[in-house]
């Protein structure tokens, strides 16, 4: 029973990053607070993981101000969407091949 783990992107190895991508896959945009609530992580932790995904160009960041308070919105890029879908496919195949 050989399983290829190629195709599993490193960016998705982490639970928080996988969570961010999952949430953004079904929401056009999400702000920092919402992401934090869903993932139940600290500000610093979330910011680090977001930065990593940003560096991969998987997510897009839009900064703006609402009532003079900074509001940052995140969305998935086309590249991120493709990578996430590929990741799902690989996961699916691994599980199928082990059955």
């Amino acid at each position: 029973m050989k399983v290829s783990i190629d195709g599993l992107h490193k960016a998705f190895e982490n639970r928080v990053r996988l969570g961010i991508m999952s949430a953004l896959a079904v929401n056009d945009t999400l702000d920092f607070t919402s992401l934090k609530e869903y993932l139940d992580v600290t500000d610093g932790n979330l910011a680090t993981h977001i930065k990593k995904l940003e560096k991969e160009e998987f997510i897009d960041v839009k900064k703006s101000f609402i009532d003079n308070k900074p509001n940052t919105k995140y969305s998935m890029t086309a590249k991120g969407k493709k990578a996430f879908e590929d990741h799902l496919k690989v996961l699916e195949n691994i599980i199928k091949s082990q059955k």
Binding site: V26, N27, E37
Partner: protein, 207 residues
């Protein structure tokens, strides 16, 4: 190397995150039951004490727009509405807390925003009908627009809400045809159907 269970867990987590971030799942079945009870009580008071009897054609006061207890009827409707919404908000907040979520989050805001569009449009239309004395249609129209609101909301919550919405719309439309049974359909929709739906949701998701 990761084990098979790890991959399965990954998929389970992805699924759960997608659901949690796009659907508001803290709607309380118990609140549905309570809303039904308030509605039945309200319909009973309207019928027995306020003489809201849309049955009978032509000579009925409701039919002619000569209905004299209108202010009391509207007050009653507002009280029933506030009780139902208040209970729903309270019980949903409690349920959300139990699930470790905030009740007023992105998903619940989105759900409320999508519900409010048909509700506001329906509210304005019903107000116009009240002013014009077309009281016979207010009960069926409230069912119809409430059903539309639920249908909209179902995209952001349990799929079951969609069927509740369709039943309410159906009853509302029937009520516009059989106007004499407007209040009866209203009592079935807001009362009986809510109670049945609430029990179903409670048994299915809250045990």
């Amino acid at each position: 190397m990761k084990e098979e269970q790890d991959y399965i867990r990954d998929i389970a987590e992805i699924r759960s995150m997608m659901e949690r971030s796009s659907k508001f799942l803290s709607l309380s079945g118990l609140a549905g039951i309570m809303a039904g009870v308030y509605a039945l009580a309200g319909a009973w008071v309207a019928h027995v004490y306020l003489g809201f009897k849309p049955d009978g054609v032509g000579d009925s006061a409701v039919y002619n727009g000569q209905y004299s207890n209108l202010p009391q009827l509207m007050l009653l409707a507002v009280v029933v509405l506030i009780l139902a919404i208040g209970t729903a908000v309270f019980l949903s907040a409690k349920k959300a807390q139990k699930r470790g979520e905030k009740a007023w989050n992105t998903t619940s805001k989105r759900m409320v925003a999508h519900m409010s569009v048909p509700l506001v449009a329906g509210g304005i239309l019903i107000s116009v009908f009240i002013v014009k004395g077309l009281l016979i249609l207010i009960a069926p129209l409230s069912l119809l627009f409430y059903g539309l609101a639920l249908y909209n909301a179902s995209k952001f919550s349990y799929e079951d809400v969609k069927f509740l919405g369709m039943i309410q719309m159906g009853l509302g439309l029937l009520g516009t045809w059989y106007t004499g049974y407007g209040l009866l359909f209203w009592a079935i929709g807001f009362g009986v159907v809510h109670i049945v739906y609430g029990i179903y949701m409670h048994l299915r998701y809250e045990r």
